[in-house]
Amino acid sequence: MPYNDYVSVEHLSHRFRLTRKIAIDAVKDVSFSIDRGEILGLVGESGSGKSTVARCVMGILRPSGGRVTYDGIDVNGARLSSEEKIRLQCERQIIFQDSGSALNPRMSVRRILSEPLDICGLARDRGEREALLIQNLDFVGLDAGILESRPGELSGGQRQRVSIARALLMKPKLIVADEPIASLDVSIQAQIVNLFKHLQAEHGFTFLFIAHDLAMVEFLCDRVGVMSKGRLVELAPTRQLYDAPRHPYTRALLSAVPIPDPRLERSREIPVYRAPEHVTRREWTRVGFDHYVLMER
Protein backbone atom coordinates (compact mmCIF):
# COMPACT_ATOMS: atom_id res chain seq x y z
CA MET A 1 0.00 0.00 0.00
CA PRO A 2 1.58 3.26 -1.02
CA TYR A 3 1.59 6.07 1.51
CA ASN A 4 0.91 9.46 0.13
CA ASP A 5 0.56 10.99 3.55
CA TYR A 6 3.71 12.04 5.32
CA VAL A 7 2.39 11.51 8.80
CA SER A 8 -0.80 9.62 9.17
CA VAL A 9 -2.77 8.88 12.29
CA GLU A 10 -5.41 6.22 11.86
CA HIS A 11 -8.13 5.47 14.40
CA LEU A 12 -5.78 6.31 17.22
CA SER A 13 -7.03 5.72 20.73
CA HIS A 14 -5.26 5.66 24.04
CA ARG A 15 -6.38 4.60 27.46
CA PHE A 16 -4.55 5.39 30.70
CA ARG A 17 -4.99 2.76 33.35
CA LEU A 18 -4.92 4.44 36.71
CA THR A 19 -5.86 1.56 38.95
CA ARG A 20 -7.25 -1.85 38.28
CA LYS A 21 -10.74 -0.39 38.03
CA ILE A 22 -10.31 3.16 36.85
CA ALA A 23 -9.15 3.94 33.34
CA ILE A 24 -9.32 7.12 31.35
CA ASP A 25 -9.81 7.20 27.63
CA ALA A 26 -7.60 10.12 26.76
CA VAL A 27 -7.91 9.74 23.00
CA LYS A 28 -10.76 8.08 21.16
CA ASP A 29 -10.64 7.13 17.51
CA VAL A 30 -8.68 10.07 16.11
CA SER A 31 -7.62 10.09 12.47
CA PHE A 32 -5.83 12.77 10.51
CA SER A 33 -2.81 13.20 8.33
CA ILE A 34 -0.15 15.83 7.85
CA ASP A 35 1.36 16.69 4.49
CA ARG A 36 5.02 17.29 3.93
CA GLY A 37 5.95 20.82 4.92
CA GLU A 38 2.60 21.61 6.42
CA ILE A 39 1.89 23.25 9.77
CA LEU A 40 -1.00 21.52 11.44
CA GLY A 41 -2.43 23.03 14.58
CA LEU A 42 -4.23 21.02 17.20
CA VAL A 43 -6.37 22.96 19.65
CA GLY A 44 -8.70 22.08 22.46
CA GLU A 45 -9.17 22.65 26.16
CA SER A 46 -6.86 21.05 28.72
CA GLY A 47 -7.46 17.36 29.06
CA SER A 48 -8.86 17.00 25.57
CA GLY A 49 -6.11 14.58 24.58
CA LYS A 50 -3.91 16.84 22.44
CA SER A 51 -0.71 16.00 24.27
CA THR A 52 -1.50 12.31 24.21
CA VAL A 53 -1.86 12.48 20.44
CA ALA A 54 1.48 14.24 20.24
CA ARG A 55 3.14 11.64 22.43
CA CYS A 56 1.69 8.83 20.38
CA VAL A 57 3.01 10.45 17.21
CA MET A 58 6.44 10.64 18.83
CA GLY A 59 6.26 7.04 19.98
CA ILE A 60 6.58 8.02 23.65
CA LEU A 61 3.27 6.37 24.38
CA ARG A 62 2.18 3.15 22.77
CA PRO A 63 -1.40 3.69 21.59
CA SER A 64 -3.96 1.19 22.81
CA GLY A 65 -5.64 1.23 19.42
CA GLY A 66 -5.03 2.40 15.88
CA ARG A 67 -1.68 3.26 14.43
CA VAL A 68 0.63 6.09 13.51
CA THR A 69 2.86 6.04 10.48
CA TYR A 70 5.68 8.38 9.63
CA ASP A 71 6.68 8.42 5.98
CA GLY A 72 5.37 4.90 5.66
CA ILE A 73 7.10 3.61 8.81
CA ASP A 74 4.84 2.31 11.55
CA VAL A 75 5.99 4.33 14.56
CA ASN A 76 5.21 1.52 17.00
CA GLY A 77 6.10 -1.27 14.64
CA ALA A 78 7.65 -4.28 16.26
CA ARG A 79 10.06 -5.09 13.46
CA LEU A 80 11.80 -1.96 12.31
CA SER A 81 15.11 -2.10 10.58
CA SER A 82 17.86 -0.24 12.37
CA GLU A 83 17.88 2.24 9.52
CA GLU A 84 14.20 2.95 10.12
CA LYS A 85 14.79 3.32 13.85
CA ILE A 86 17.53 5.85 13.26
CA ARG A 87 15.32 7.73 10.84
CA LEU A 88 12.54 7.87 13.43
CA GLN A 89 14.95 9.10 16.10
CA CYS A 90 16.62 11.77 14.03
CA GLU A 91 13.89 13.00 11.75
CA ARG A 92 11.22 13.44 14.41
CA GLN A 93 11.84 15.88 17.23
CA ILE A 94 9.64 17.04 20.06
CA ILE A 95 9.46 20.33 21.92
CA PHE A 96 7.80 20.23 25.31
CA GLN A 97 5.54 22.67 27.03
CA ASP A 98 7.61 23.33 30.10
CA SER A 99 11.10 24.19 28.99
CA GLY A 100 12.05 24.25 32.66
CA SER A 101 11.63 20.51 32.98
CA ALA A 102 12.52 19.61 29.40
CA LEU A 103 16.10 20.72 30.00
CA ASN A 104 18.14 18.93 32.64
CA PRO A 105 18.83 21.64 35.23
CA ARG A 106 22.25 20.19 35.99
CA MET A 107 23.58 20.46 32.46
CA SER A 108 25.02 23.49 30.74
CA VAL A 109 23.40 24.60 27.51
CA ARG A 110 26.42 23.22 25.71
CA ARG A 111 25.86 19.76 27.15
CA ILE A 112 22.13 19.94 26.54
CA LEU A 113 22.65 20.76 22.90
CA SER A 114 25.42 18.19 22.55
CA GLU A 115 23.30 15.36 23.90
CA PRO A 116 21.55 14.39 20.64
CA LEU A 117 24.87 14.67 18.81
CA ASP A 118 26.51 12.39 21.38
CA ILE A 119 23.77 9.82 21.13
CA CYS A 120 23.97 9.69 17.37
CA GLY A 121 27.74 10.10 17.31
CA LEU A 122 27.61 13.17 15.05
CA ALA A 123 30.02 16.10 14.79
CA ARG A 124 32.68 14.54 17.00
CA ASP A 125 35.27 17.11 15.93
CA ARG A 126 35.40 19.89 18.48
CA GLY A 127 35.55 22.81 16.10
CA GLU A 128 32.86 21.36 13.90
CA ARG A 129 30.59 20.81 16.89
CA GLU A 130 31.19 24.31 18.21
CA ALA A 131 30.27 25.79 14.85
CA LEU A 132 27.16 23.63 14.66
CA LEU A 133 26.01 24.63 18.15
CA ILE A 134 26.57 28.31 17.48
CA GLN A 135 24.84 28.10 14.15
CA ASN A 136 21.79 26.48 15.69
CA LEU A 137 21.70 28.94 18.56
CA ASP A 138 21.80 31.62 15.92
CA PHE A 139 18.75 30.15 14.22
CA VAL A 140 16.75 30.67 17.38
CA GLY A 141 18.17 34.10 18.13
CA LEU A 142 20.58 33.27 20.91
CA ASP A 143 24.29 33.85 20.85
CA ALA A 144 27.26 31.77 21.84
CA GLY A 145 27.54 33.46 25.23
CA ILE A 146 24.72 31.30 26.48
CA LEU A 147 26.57 28.02 26.00
CA GLU A 148 27.97 27.87 29.50
CA SER A 149 24.78 28.89 31.27
CA ARG A 150 22.50 26.47 33.00
CA PRO A 151 18.76 26.38 32.40
CA GLY A 152 18.08 27.89 35.81
CA GLU A 153 19.92 31.06 34.82
CA LEU A 154 17.85 31.61 31.70
CA SER A 155 14.43 33.18 31.24
CA GLY A 156 11.51 31.07 30.11
CA GLY A 157 11.75 32.41 26.58
CA GLN A 158 15.47 31.70 26.39
CA ARG A 159 14.95 28.20 27.68
CA GLN A 160 12.29 27.50 25.10
CA ARG A 161 14.66 28.78 22.42
CA VAL A 162 17.29 26.36 23.68
CA SER A 163 14.83 23.47 23.41
CA ILE A 164 13.99 24.56 19.89
CA ALA A 165 17.68 24.74 19.03
CA ARG A 166 18.14 21.24 20.41
CA ALA A 167 15.32 19.98 18.23
CA LEU A 168 16.72 21.78 15.17
CA LEU A 169 20.21 20.35 15.63
CA MET A 170 19.24 16.99 14.21
CA LYS A 171 17.91 18.68 11.07
CA PRO A 172 14.50 17.13 11.68
CA LYS A 173 11.85 16.67 9.04
CA LEU A 174 9.02 16.59 11.55
CA ILE A 175 8.76 18.69 14.68
CA VAL A 176 6.04 18.05 17.22
CA ALA A 177 5.57 20.96 19.59
CA ASP A 178 3.47 20.12 22.63
CA GLU A 179 2.08 23.47 23.81
CA PRO A 180 5.46 25.13 23.39
CA ILE A 181 4.16 28.57 24.30
CA ALA A 182 1.68 27.81 27.06
CA SER A 183 4.09 28.47 29.88
CA LEU A 184 5.45 31.75 28.49
CA ASP A 185 4.45 35.39 28.88
CA VAL A 186 2.23 36.75 26.14
CA SER A 187 4.92 38.95 24.60
CA ILE A 188 7.37 36.06 24.57
CA GLN A 189 4.68 33.82 23.09
CA ALA A 190 4.46 36.11 20.09
CA GLN A 191 8.22 36.06 19.68
CA ILE A 192 8.38 32.27 19.79
CA VAL A 193 5.49 31.83 17.38
CA ASN A 194 7.15 34.29 15.02
CA LEU A 195 10.32 32.29 15.39
CA PHE A 196 8.51 29.08 14.52
CA LYS A 197 7.05 30.69 11.44
CA HIS A 198 10.44 31.87 10.24
CA LEU A 199 12.18 28.62 11.05
CA GLN A 200 9.54 26.62 9.25
CA ALA A 201 9.80 28.85 6.21
CA GLU A 202 13.58 28.51 6.22
CA HIS A 203 13.95 24.85 7.03
CA GLY A 204 10.76 23.52 5.57
CA PHE A 205 10.07 20.94 8.25
CA THR A 206 6.64 19.53 8.85
CA PHE A 207 5.15 20.87 12.02
CA LEU A 208 2.53 19.61 14.43
CA PHE A 209 1.73 22.53 16.69
CA ILE A 210 -0.36 21.98 19.77
CA ALA A 211 -1.80 24.90 21.65
CA HIS A 212 -4.86 26.24 23.28
CA ASP A 213 -4.28 29.82 22.19
CA LEU A 214 -6.49 30.22 19.15
CA ALA A 215 -4.96 33.49 17.97
CA MET A 216 -1.49 31.99 17.76
CA VAL A 217 -2.79 28.97 15.92
CA GLU A 218 -4.63 31.16 13.44
CA PHE A 219 -1.45 33.10 12.77
CA LEU A 220 0.84 30.11 12.41
CA CYS A 221 -0.99 27.11 11.03
CA ASP A 222 -2.09 26.00 7.61
CA ARG A 223 -4.74 23.65 8.91
CA VAL A 224 -6.30 23.30 12.33
CA GLY A 225 -7.84 20.35 14.12
CA VAL A 226 -10.10 20.84 17.11
CA MET A 227 -10.19 18.26 19.87
CA SER A 228 -12.75 17.82 22.58
CA LYS A 229 -12.94 15.06 25.18
CA GLY A 230 -10.51 12.84 23.34
CA ARG A 231 -12.14 13.16 19.94
CA LEU A 232 -11.18 15.19 16.93
CA VAL A 233 -14.38 17.14 16.24
CA GLU A 234 -13.40 19.39 13.37
CA LEU A 235 -10.51 19.63 10.90
CA ALA A 236 -10.23 22.36 8.31
CA PRO A 237 -7.89 24.84 6.65
CA THR A 238 -7.31 27.68 9.07
CA ARG A 239 -9.25 30.43 7.28
CA GLN A 240 -12.21 28.19 6.74
CA LEU A 241 -12.31 27.06 10.34
CA TYR A 242 -12.13 30.54 11.75
CA ASP A 243 -14.61 32.00 9.28
CA ALA A 244 -17.17 29.22 9.27
CA PRO A 245 -16.86 26.85 12.21
CA ARG A 246 -19.33 24.00 11.96
CA HIS A 247 -19.09 22.00 15.16
CA PRO A 248 -20.80 23.58 18.18
CA TYR A 249 -17.70 23.03 20.30
CA THR A 250 -15.54 24.87 17.78
CA ARG A 251 -18.00 27.73 17.79
CA ALA A 252 -17.98 27.96 21.55
CA LEU A 253 -14.20 27.82 21.55
CA LEU A 254 -13.85 30.54 18.95
CA SER A 255 -16.34 32.84 20.58
CA ALA A 256 -14.42 32.55 23.83
CA VAL A 257 -11.58 34.53 22.24
CA PRO A 258 -11.91 38.00 23.77
CA ILE A 259 -12.57 40.94 21.51
CA PRO A 260 -10.10 43.74 22.10
CA ASP A 261 -12.86 46.25 22.75
CA PRO A 262 -14.09 46.36 26.32
CA ARG A 263 -17.59 47.62 25.46
CA LEU A 264 -18.24 44.95 22.90
CA GLU A 265 -16.54 42.36 25.06
CA ARG A 266 -18.77 43.08 28.01
CA SER A 267 -21.99 43.16 26.08
CA ARG A 268 -21.61 39.98 24.08
CA GLU A 269 -22.89 36.63 25.09
CA ILE A 270 -20.53 33.67 25.07
CA PRO A 271 -22.17 30.40 24.12
CA VAL A 272 -21.35 27.46 26.31
CA TYR A 273 -20.87 24.08 24.70
CA ARG A 274 -22.51 21.16 26.38
CA ALA A 275 -21.65 17.80 24.97
CA PRO A 276 -24.78 15.88 23.95
CA GLU A 277 -25.40 13.20 26.50
CA HIS A 278 -26.62 10.35 24.42
CA VAL A 279 -24.75 10.09 21.20
CA THR A 280 -25.80 7.12 19.17
CA ARG A 281 -23.97 7.84 15.96
CA ARG A 282 -20.80 9.64 15.20
CA GLU A 283 -19.91 10.32 11.64
CA TRP A 284 -16.90 12.03 10.19
CA THR A 285 -18.47 14.17 7.49
CA ARG A 286 -16.96 16.30 4.76
CA VAL A 287 -18.68 19.66 4.73
CA GLY A 288 -16.46 21.71 2.45
CA PHE A 289 -13.18 21.59 0.60
CA ASP A 290 -10.86 19.76 3.01
CA HIS A 291 -13.23 20.61 5.85
CA TYR A 292 -14.42 17.74 8.04
CA VAL A 293 -16.72 17.72 11.04
CA LEU A 294 -17.67 15.03 13.50
CA MET A 295 -21.44 14.82 13.36
CA GLU A 296 -22.98 13.64 16.62
CA ARG A 297 -26.56 12.53 16.92
Binding site: M58, G59, I60, K85, I86, Q89, C90, R92, Q93, I94, F96, D98, S101, A102, L103, N104, R106, M107, E115, P116, D118, I119, C120, G127, E128, A131, I134, Q135, D138, F139, V140, G141, L142, D143, A144, G145, I146, S149, G152, E153, L154, S155, G157, Q158, R166, L168, M170, K171, I188, Q191, N194, L195, H198, A201, E202, H203, G204
Partner: protein, 314 residues
Protein backbone atom coordinates in the same frame (compact mmCIF):
# COMPACT_ATOMS: atom_id res chain seq x y z
CA UNK B 1 15.11 23.87 2.09
CA UNK B 2 17.52 22.69 4.66
CA UNK B 3 20.11 23.94 7.11
CA UNK B 4 22.64 24.41 4.35
CA UNK B 5 20.48 27.07 2.76
CA UNK B 6 21.03 29.43 5.63
CA UNK B 7 24.58 28.61 6.50
CA UNK B 8 26.85 31.54 5.67
CA UNK B 9 28.82 30.51 2.59
CA UNK B 10 32.07 28.71 3.14
CA UNK B 11 32.75 29.99 6.59
CA UNK B 12 31.96 27.41 9.24
CA UNK B 13 33.20 29.56 12.10
CA UNK B 14 31.48 32.62 13.50
CA UNK B 15 29.99 34.70 10.68
CA UNK B 16 30.44 38.44 10.87
CA UNK B 17 27.50 40.78 11.29
CA UNK B 18 27.67 41.85 7.65
CA UNK B 19 27.64 38.32 6.43
CA UNK B 20 24.66 37.57 8.56
CA UNK B 21 22.75 40.54 7.26
CA UNK B 22 23.53 39.63 3.70
CA UNK B 23 23.15 35.91 3.82
CA UNK B 24 20.25 35.31 6.10
CA UNK B 25 16.92 35.55 4.45
CA UNK B 26 15.08 36.28 7.61
CA UNK B 27 15.51 38.43 10.58
CA UNK B 28 15.51 36.68 13.88
CA UNK B 29 12.97 38.30 16.10
CA UNK B 30 13.39 39.04 19.73
CA UNK B 31 17.14 38.58 19.87
CA UNK B 32 18.04 38.68 23.49
CA UNK B 33 21.25 39.86 24.91
CA UNK B 34 22.38 36.92 26.94
CA UNK B 35 25.29 38.64 28.56
CA UNK B 36 22.87 40.57 30.68
CA UNK B 37 21.09 37.43 31.81
CA UNK B 38 21.28 37.23 35.58
CA UNK B 39 23.69 34.56 36.67
CA UNK B 40 22.86 33.12 40.02
CA UNK B 41 25.88 33.52 42.22
CA UNK B 42 27.16 30.10 43.19
CA UNK B 43 26.50 29.93 46.90
CA UNK B 44 27.83 27.39 49.30
CA UNK B 45 24.68 26.12 50.89
CA UNK B 46 26.43 24.68 53.92
CA UNK B 47 29.66 25.52 55.62
CA UNK B 48 32.20 22.78 55.25
CA UNK B 49 33.21 21.07 58.48
CA UNK B 50 36.88 21.97 58.19
CA UNK B 51 37.87 20.57 61.58
CA UNK B 52 36.43 17.17 60.75
CA UNK B 53 38.02 17.18 57.32
CA UNK B 54 41.39 18.09 58.81
CA UNK B 55 41.25 15.45 61.54
CA UNK B 56 40.13 12.77 59.12
CA UNK B 57 42.83 13.78 56.66
CA UNK B 58 45.44 13.56 59.42
CA UNK B 59 44.31 10.10 60.45
CA UNK B 60 44.16 8.93 56.84
CA UNK B 61 47.59 10.39 56.13
CA UNK B 62 49.04 8.73 59.21
CA UNK B 63 47.64 5.40 58.08
CA UNK B 64 48.97 5.85 54.56
CA UNK B 65 52.40 6.67 55.94
CA UNK B 66 52.24 3.88 58.53
CA UNK B 67 55.54 2.46 57.35
CA UNK B 68 57.26 5.81 57.83
CA UNK B 69 55.73 6.67 61.20
CA UNK B 70 56.09 3.18 62.67
CA UNK B 71 58.46 1.19 60.53
CA UNK B 72 58.79 -2.53 60.94
CA UNK B 73 56.32 -5.30 61.60
CA UNK B 74 53.42 -4.10 63.71
CA UNK B 75 52.82 -7.69 64.73
CA UNK B 76 56.23 -7.87 66.44
CA UNK B 77 55.72 -9.08 69.99
CA UNK B 78 57.98 -7.76 72.67
CA UNK B 79 57.45 -10.70 74.99
CA UNK B 80 59.45 -9.01 77.71
CA UNK B 81 56.97 -6.18 78.13
CA UNK B 82 53.33 -7.22 77.66
CA UNK B 83 50.59 -4.80 78.72
CA UNK B 84 53.06 -2.02 79.36
CA UNK B 85 51.63 1.43 80.06
CA UNK B 86 52.56 4.29 77.69
CA UNK B 87 56.22 5.22 78.05
CA UNK B 88 58.99 6.71 75.96
CA UNK B 89 59.61 3.52 74.01
CA UNK B 90 55.94 2.71 73.44
CA UNK B 91 54.07 6.04 73.23
CA UNK B 92 50.68 4.28 73.43
CA UNK B 93 51.87 1.31 75.46
CA UNK B 94 51.76 -2.36 74.45
CA UNK B 95 48.91 -4.87 74.32
CA UNK B 96 48.57 -8.17 76.15
CA UNK B 97 50.93 -9.80 73.65
CA UNK B 98 53.54 -7.06 73.85
CA UNK B 99 52.77 -5.45 70.51
CA UNK B 100 53.27 -1.70 70.21
CA UNK B 101 49.86 -0.03 70.15
CA UNK B 102 51.31 3.02 68.45
CA UNK B 103 52.40 0.96 65.47
CA UNK B 104 49.19 -1.04 65.49
CA UNK B 105 47.04 2.11 65.38
CA UNK B 106 48.51 3.25 62.07
CA UNK B 107 48.80 -0.16 60.47
CA UNK B 108 45.39 -1.22 61.76
CA UNK B 109 43.82 2.05 60.63
CA UNK B 110 44.78 1.17 57.07
CA UNK B 111 42.81 -2.03 57.34
CA UNK B 112 39.80 -0.40 58.98
CA UNK B 113 39.62 2.45 56.45
CA UNK B 114 40.20 0.10 53.55
CA UNK B 115 37.37 -2.15 54.67
CA UNK B 116 35.09 0.88 54.99
CA UNK B 117 35.87 2.04 51.46
CA UNK B 118 35.76 -1.40 49.84
CA UNK B 119 32.51 -2.41 51.49
CA UNK B 120 30.89 0.89 50.55
CA UNK B 121 32.08 0.75 46.96
CA UNK B 122 30.52 -2.67 46.66
CA UNK B 123 27.25 -1.78 48.36
CA UNK B 124 26.91 1.45 46.37
CA UNK B 125 27.45 -0.36 43.10
CA UNK B 126 24.82 -2.95 44.00
CA UNK B 127 22.44 -0.26 45.23
CA UNK B 128 22.71 1.91 42.11
CA UNK B 129 22.04 -0.95 39.72
CA UNK B 130 19.30 -2.47 41.87
CA UNK B 131 17.64 0.88 42.56
CA UNK B 132 17.72 2.00 38.95
CA UNK B 133 16.32 -1.25 37.63
CA UNK B 134 13.57 -1.10 40.24
CA UNK B 135 12.93 2.54 39.41
CA UNK B 136 12.56 2.20 35.65
CA UNK B 137 10.95 -1.22 35.70
CA UNK B 138 7.22 -1.87 35.47
CA UNK B 139 5.14 -1.57 38.61
CA UNK B 140 5.05 -5.29 39.41
CA UNK B 141 8.84 -5.63 39.21
CA UNK B 142 9.27 -2.53 41.34
CA UNK B 143 6.90 -3.88 44.00
CA UNK B 144 8.65 -7.24 44.00
CA UNK B 145 12.11 -5.74 44.27
CA UNK B 146 11.13 -3.40 47.08
CA UNK B 147 9.47 -6.28 48.96
CA UNK B 148 12.74 -8.18 48.68
CA UNK B 149 14.65 -5.31 50.26
CA UNK B 150 12.18 -5.23 53.15
CA UNK B 151 12.56 -8.93 53.84
CA UNK B 152 16.30 -8.52 53.51
CA UNK B 153 16.22 -5.77 56.10
CA UNK B 154 14.20 -7.90 58.50
CA UNK B 155 16.56 -10.88 58.54
CA UNK B 156 18.92 -10.28 61.44
CA UNK B 157 22.11 -9.13 59.75
CA UNK B 158 24.27 -11.02 62.23
CA UNK B 159 22.93 -14.25 60.73
CA UNK B 160 23.69 -13.20 57.15
CA UNK B 161 27.15 -12.08 58.18
CA UNK B 162 27.94 -15.37 59.91
CA UNK B 163 26.57 -17.32 56.97
CA UNK B 164 28.59 -15.41 54.41
CA UNK B 165 31.69 -15.61 56.55
CA UNK B 166 31.24 -19.36 56.72
CA UNK B 167 30.98 -19.61 52.93
CA UNK B 168 33.95 -17.37 52.27
CA UNK B 169 36.16 -19.21 54.71
CA UNK B 170 38.45 -17.64 57.32
CA UNK B 171 37.88 -13.91 57.52
CA UNK B 172 40.29 -11.59 55.78
CA UNK B 173 40.07 -7.99 54.63
CA UNK B 174 38.46 -8.79 51.29
CA UNK B 175 35.98 -11.31 52.60
CA UNK B 176 34.76 -9.09 55.41
CA UNK B 177 34.42 -6.17 52.97
CA UNK B 178 32.31 -8.35 50.73
CA UNK B 179 30.17 -9.48 53.63
CA UNK B 180 29.59 -5.94 54.86
CA UNK B 181 29.02 -4.63 51.32
CA UNK B 182 26.49 -7.30 50.50
CA UNK B 183 24.52 -6.61 53.66
CA UNK B 184 24.35 -2.82 53.55
CA UNK B 185 22.96 -1.86 50.15
CA UNK B 186 19.16 -1.81 50.68
CA UNK B 187 18.87 1.66 52.20
CA UNK B 188 20.81 3.30 49.37
CA UNK B 189 18.93 1.25 46.80
CA UNK B 190 15.64 2.56 48.17
CA UNK B 191 16.74 6.18 47.78
CA UNK B 192 18.06 5.58 44.26
CA UNK B 193 14.81 3.91 43.31
CA UNK B 194 12.68 6.77 44.65
CA UNK B 195 14.74 9.38 42.81
CA UNK B 196 14.75 7.42 39.55
CA UNK B 197 11.03 6.86 39.77
CA UNK B 198 10.44 10.60 40.00
CA UNK B 199 12.98 11.44 37.32
CA UNK B 200 11.90 8.95 34.71
CA UNK B 201 8.67 10.90 34.16
CA UNK B 202 10.48 14.19 33.76
CA UNK B 203 10.44 15.62 30.29
CA UNK B 204 14.16 15.82 29.80
CA UNK B 205 14.44 12.10 30.34
CA UNK B 206 11.58 11.54 27.90
CA UNK B 207 13.31 13.90 25.48
CA UNK B 208 16.56 12.01 25.89
CA UNK B 209 14.86 8.71 25.13
CA UNK B 210 13.17 10.29 22.11
CA UNK B 211 16.61 11.21 20.83
CA UNK B 212 17.46 7.53 21.09
CA UNK B 213 19.35 7.54 24.39
CA UNK B 214 19.66 4.03 25.82
CA UNK B 215 19.48 2.82 29.44
CA UNK B 216 23.14 3.46 30.21
CA UNK B 217 23.09 6.86 28.52
CA UNK B 218 20.11 8.01 30.58
CA UNK B 219 21.56 6.48 33.76
CA UNK B 220 24.92 8.19 33.39
CA UNK B 221 23.75 11.54 32.04
CA UNK B 222 20.44 12.14 33.76
CA UNK B 223 19.80 9.78 36.67
CA UNK B 224 23.23 9.58 38.27
CA UNK B 225 23.90 13.34 38.54
CA UNK B 226 20.54 13.73 40.22
CA UNK B 227 20.65 10.93 42.75
CA UNK B 228 24.37 11.30 43.46
CA UNK B 229 23.81 14.33 45.62
CA UNK B 230 21.11 12.60 47.64
CA UNK B 231 23.06 9.39 48.14
CA UNK B 232 26.40 11.04 48.88
CA UNK B 233 25.32 11.48 52.48
CA UNK B 234 24.30 7.85 52.71
CA UNK B 235 27.51 6.70 51.04
CA UNK B 236 29.62 8.48 53.64
CA UNK B 237 27.39 7.08 56.37
CA UNK B 238 27.89 3.66 54.82
CA UNK B 239 31.65 3.97 55.10
CA UNK B 240 31.13 4.91 58.70
CA UNK B 241 28.75 2.01 59.25
CA UNK B 242 31.12 -0.48 57.64
CA UNK B 243 34.02 0.61 59.83
CA UNK B 244 31.85 0.41 62.93
CA UNK B 245 30.47 -3.01 61.95
CA UNK B 246 33.91 -4.39 61.22
CA UNK B 247 35.12 -3.31 64.63
CA UNK B 248 32.06 -4.77 66.34
CA UNK B 249 32.38 -8.09 64.47
CA UNK B 250 36.11 -8.35 65.11
CA UNK B 251 35.55 -7.52 68.75
CA UNK B 252 32.97 -10.31 69.05
CA UNK B 253 35.35 -12.75 67.43
CA UNK B 254 33.30 -13.00 64.24
CA UNK B 255 35.49 -10.74 62.14
CA UNK B 256 39.20 -10.40 61.63
CA UNK B 257 41.48 -12.64 63.69
CA UNK B 258 43.97 -11.16 66.15
CA UNK B 259 46.91 -11.31 63.78
CA UNK B 260 45.24 -9.15 61.10
CA UNK B 261 45.41 -5.83 62.87
CA UNK B 262 42.48 -3.45 62.63
CA UNK B 263 40.99 -1.06 65.16
CA UNK B 264 38.35 -3.69 65.83
CA UNK B 265 40.61 -6.70 66.22
CA UNK B 266 42.88 -4.67 68.53
CA UNK B 267 39.94 -4.57 70.91
CA UNK B 268 39.10 -8.23 70.65
CA UNK B 269 41.10 -9.23 73.69
CA UNK B 270 39.78 -6.30 75.65
CA UNK B 271 38.23 -8.51 78.32
CA UNK B 272 41.68 -9.58 79.46
CA UNK B 273 42.82 -5.98 79.43
CA UNK B 274 39.79 -5.09 81.55
CA UNK B 275 40.80 -7.52 84.25
CA UNK B 276 44.22 -5.90 84.60
CA UNK B 277 42.89 -2.37 84.23
CA UNK B 278 45.12 -1.71 81.22
CA UNK B 279 43.08 1.30 80.07
CA UNK B 280 45.37 2.19 77.14
CA UNK B 281 44.60 -1.06 75.35
CA UNK B 282 40.90 -0.20 75.35
CA UNK B 283 40.82 3.57 75.18
CA UNK B 284 43.40 4.41 72.53
CA UNK B 285 42.17 2.30 69.57
CA UNK B 286 38.61 3.23 70.51
CA UNK B 287 39.39 6.95 70.51
CA UNK B 288 40.84 6.72 67.01
CA UNK B 289 37.85 4.71 65.90
CA UNK B 290 35.36 7.16 67.40
CA UNK B 291 37.22 10.20 66.08
CA UNK B 292 37.08 8.76 62.57
CA UNK B 293 33.40 7.96 62.88
CA UNK B 294 32.55 11.42 64.25
CA UNK B 295 34.45 13.17 61.45
CA UNK B 296 32.66 11.08 58.86
CA UNK B 297 29.29 11.85 60.42
CA UNK B 298 30.00 15.57 60.36
CA UNK B 299 31.12 15.43 56.74
CA UNK B 300 28.08 13.35 55.84
CA UNK B 301 25.75 15.80 57.53
CA UNK B 302 27.38 18.70 55.70
CA UNK B 303 26.92 16.82 52.41
CA UNK B 304 23.25 16.39 53.13
CA UNK B 305 23.15 20.16 53.25
CA UNK B 306 21.40 22.24 55.82
CA UNK B 307 17.85 22.91 54.83
CA UNK B 308 17.20 26.59 54.79
CA UNK B 309 14.44 26.70 57.27
CA UNK B 310 13.40 30.30 57.13
CA UNK B 311 11.81 32.26 59.95
CA UNK B 312 10.35 30.36 62.86
CA UNK B 313 6.83 31.25 63.70
CA UNK B 314 6.88 30.46 67.37
Amino acid sequence: MSHEAVQPSGNPSMPTEDQLAGELRFQVVGRLDVHDAPRAAAKRSARLPWVSIAVLALIALGCLLANVIAPGNANYMDLASPAKAPCARYPFGTDMMGRSIFAMIWHGGRVSLLIGVLATALSTAIAVVYGTVSGVGPVWLDTLMMRVTEIFLSVPSLLIVIFLQAILGPANVVSISIVLGVTSWPTIAKVVRTEVRQLRQSEYVVASRCMGGGFMHVLVNHFAPNFLSSIMFMVVMNVRGAIASESTLSFMGLGLPLEIISWGSMLSNADRALLTGAWWIILIPGLFLVATLVCMTNIGNALRGKVNRGERNL
